[in-house]
Every structure is written in C-alpha cells, then in structure tokens.
Amino acid sequence: MSKKVQAIYLWWHKSVIDQELLQSLPNLKVIANSGVGMDHLDLKLVASFGVKVANAPCDVSGSTADTEVALLLASARRLVEGYHVAISSGMEYCEADFLGVEVTGATLRINGMGSIGYKIALRAKAFEMNILYHNRTWRKEQEEQAVGATYCKKIDSLLQKADFVMVVVSLTPLTDELIGKREMELMKPAATLINISGGTIQNCPATALQTGVIRAAALEVTYPEPLPRLPSLLITLLKLENIIITPHLSIKTGKATYMITEEAAENILAALNGLPIPSEVLPS
C-alpha cells in the first residue's frame, strides 16, 4: 500500500509529516497543503526526500476576513456570554449590568496587512473604525486611502491607542510570539486582542486576561489544535469568560473548502504529470 502512495493531500496538520512517514512512502512525489500556512511542515526535510510541496493560496481571504470581524464583534458585544445568559436555567441576570464596548468609531490596529488584513480593513471601514496598520512593507497610498488606514512603522507605537488589536501575520520565526506579555501590557486595559495567525503567537494570554491587563481576547487558532485538555489549562484559559476560542473557523465554509481542495487537486495532478506545479513552495 505504502508503495502506491504518490501524493498526500494534507488537510490541515494531519497527517504529521516526519522522517518516519517519508521513509515509509518511497514513491511519494508531492504533498499538497490545504491553505496557505506552511509552518507545520519541515520543508528542508521533505525536499531532502525529493518530494515537492505546494500550498493553496487561493483567495479565501474574504472568508477569513469575515471570521475575524465576526470574532471582533462577538468579543466586543460579549455575544457568547450573552448567549449563555439568555439560555441559562437560572434567572439571575440583571440586564442593566450586561455591557459591552462599542465597535463603530473605535480604533482597530491590524498587525499584518496582506490580502486578508486588507479585506478586514475594508469591512472595518464600513463600521467607521479608525484603522492603524503595521506590515513588513507600506501599502500604496490609494490602497491606504480606500480604507482610511494609517501606517505605523514600529509595532509598539499606537498599541496604546488601539481599542482592538488584530494579528494577521503568517507564522515565521520573526513573528513567533509577536504579541507577548510586553506587548499586552502596552495595550489599553479596555482593549481586545484578536489573533488569527499561527497559535504560538499567543504568550500567556490567560494571565493578562485574569488580571485585567487587557479586556478580552478572541483566538481563532491555538497551537496545538485543539488545546490539550490539561487540568491547569482547563482551569485557566478555557474557563475565562472574557475569552472566545474558535476552532479555525476561517476556512470552514463549503465554498472555501471547495476552492482549497480544487487548488490542491490541481497541484497534485501537475506534480504527478511532471508539469510545473502552480503553487509550489520551496524551502527558503
């Protein structure tokens, strides 16, 4: 069976591609990844076996941007908490006490202004949000003006002014733990952190949330996924009321899943037919 395997379609991080697996599949030609992130793959290791790698950078940026705005709104308005209050079997809640924070007119800081970050900015503009962004490079002036975004060269600057901080970068050694204890302490106590990039960017969000260093957080992905069911984690992170954790919803729509799979299939067929692979990824 293992001699017959020529291609792997990697649906998120499963299966784990390690030395053992690669050795057991001598005729493997290509690994097609779902989605664009490649941080879970050892590209050098895979290349050393003569296996090609492709990702699926197809335009699911709209779908991802929608999820992130959904998280921002849900966190700001305490939607998940509100749901639990509305359906709870007790009748203890007092409506007048249940308050969230405003989204319209608030300041959103986006770390990472690629195609996803830009689509988020377009949506945030419709909520009349004030948009600040940080990116490896500036966006063109027309693009900035179209969403009313202001560039911040230093990551630190204006962390203090933002009501919402959204992290949208691809995970690389440079960005690993981009938002750590220090950055969270720079944020306003009333601010919300939204993370939709690789999960290791979070560093001790539990402490910051428990002690009110920041108001709330919404985490789209966590590393590893799902969070291990360890007693200490269960007690802290998972029980906090001011955190929303979602299981990588950003591409979980019928349409997005179809597009990603279609692209992966194209990559696999190209590799098997010895043709140039449309979205090949080479080790850097």
Partner: protein
C-alpha cells in the same frame, strides 16, 4: 424607564398625581399606552438615534456569528470531549451573500452600510422607498413586496418598529417563502415574529437558523423550545448595551426629564 419597567398603567398613573413625564430608554415605545398617558397630562420621550449604530453592529454580529457557527465552534473548542475538529463541520459565507432588510429606518440603513463592506447584495422592504442616492450609496434594491425579499435572501434581518401592522409580520407563510438555507435575524421586537411558527420552522428545517436579540417575553420561560435548538443564537436584548451608548441614553433621558419638569419643549418627545 429602563427595559419597560415600571409598567405604566391606570393604577400607577392614578397614584402619581404630580407625574409630568415618562422618559423611556431606547427607541421602541410599543410598551407605552400613549393615549392613556396623554389623558393624564403626562408627556413621554424616548432615545431614538443614539441606539442606532450599536443595534446595527449587533445585527451584523448576530448574522456573522450564526453563519459561521461561532457559538457552536466555541463550545467545541472548550469542551472536554473534543479530540479533533471534524473536517466536515462547516458554516456558510457572508461575503457575497444576499441580505434582505425588512425595515429600512435609521437602524436598517446602518446595517446596509455595514453589509456593503462585506460585498453583500442588499434587498430591502420598507413602508416607503428610500431615495435614489440613499439606495445607491449602499447598493440596496427595493422590494415592494416582502415576498420577493423573502424568496431571494440568504439572511433576513428585521429592523421594524412594533406596530399593529408589523405584529406577527413574519409568520408561517413568510417563513415558508424563505430559502431552506436562510437565516432569520431579529433586532426589532419579539412580537414581530410568530414565535411558535418560528420554532416549528426551525425544527422542520424550513429555514436553516435564527439569531434573536429579542423575544416575547423577555426572558423566555426556561423550558421554551427556542432555548434548546442548536441552530438558534439568542442574546438578552443587548442591542444598545455598550457603556458609551448607555451613558448617552441616560443623558438624553435626563435632558427630556429636565425639560418636562420645567415646562420647556421636551427633546425626543413621543406624541
């Protein structure tokens, strides 16, 4: 008056001979008998515009949360029983979908402005058609008949006042006109929807899901079927529940009260 309390009836009015004004929080005044108040020479006021953006924001929040199954996703992420996230557990797209807004007043229009940022196709039904500039600013298409809106929309959002005309506006017939893949979002009043018909429609998959900030009554009895349906998100009437807006509402109400007590024209008076 917050959250429709205290209830203003004949007994209450008779017991308060010097009552001059009732300042009600929020924009809805369906809980006030204006004729009764007037017969006692008592003025009434509301807080119409200050709640609009927060309520529109919440309407968008409910639509997004429902379509992407955010609440279910959260429960899956934090559950002790979760070992992996199933590949076939999927939500639906908001971007590019069709939103039908029933009631294009201040709140409805703000929803349309926000939905435009998601490249949604926007249909609307209203007592009166908006002017061309307003329509083209948000790309909204007028549906004279509500049926046309219901049949074409992926999301139907209700932002009407509660009046005798809008009471049970959405009943069995309207729900059956909606697509089986459609979601109903209600940020107006619980009584705009025939709630029993809604329960049946959700149970029988006549429509896909509902997201409700308002119900009748509020809160629902704890054994109500709506509380148990997986495809329903309910929030406890938090349309205007942000610190800033509540403060502004209080300021508005205070102004109205002060004017009412000194015999000056009452801002936001409701006649």
């Amino acid at each position: 008056m917050w959250y429709h309390k205290p209830v203003i009836n004949e007994d209450m009015l008779q017991s308060l001979p010097n009552l001059k004004i009732v300042a009600s929080s929020g924009v809805g005044i369906d809980h006030l008998d204006l004729n009764l108040l007037s017969s006692y020479g008592v003025k009434a006021s509301n807080t119409p515009f200050v709640v609009s953006t927060d309520t529109a924001d919440l309407g968008m929040a409910l639509m997004l949360a429902s379509s992407r199954r955010l609440v279910e996703g959260y429960q899956m992420a934090v559950s002790c029983d979760t070992e992996y996230f199933p590949a076939d557990w999927l939500g639906t797209e908001v971007s590019g979908a069709t939103l039908g807004i029933v009631g294009m007043g201040t709140i409805g229009y703000k929803v349309a402005e926000r939905a435009k940022g998601f490249e949604m196709k926007i249909l609307y039904h209203n007592r009166n058609r908006r002017n061309k500039e307003e329509e083209s600013a948000v790309g909204a298409i007028y549906c004279k008949k509500i049926d046309d809106l219901l049949q074409q929309s992926d999301f139907v959002l209700l932002s009407v006042n509660l009046t005798p005309e809008t009471h049970k506006l959405i009943g069995k017939r309207e729900l059956e006109l909606m697509k089986p893949t459609a979601t109903l979002i209600n940020i107006s009043r619980g009584l705009v929807v025939d709630q029993d018909a809604l329960v049946e429609a959700l149970q029988n998959k006549v429509i896909k899901a509902a997201a409700l900030d308002v119900t009748y009554p509020e809160p629902l009895p704890r054994d109500h079927p709506l509380l148990k349906l997986k495809n329903v998100i309910i929030t406890p009437h938090i349309g205007s529940a942000t610190k800033k807006t509540r403060r502004l509402m209080m300021e508005n109400m205070t102004e109205s009260i002060q004017a009412g007590l000194t015999g000056l024209p009452v801002p936001n008076e409701v006649l």
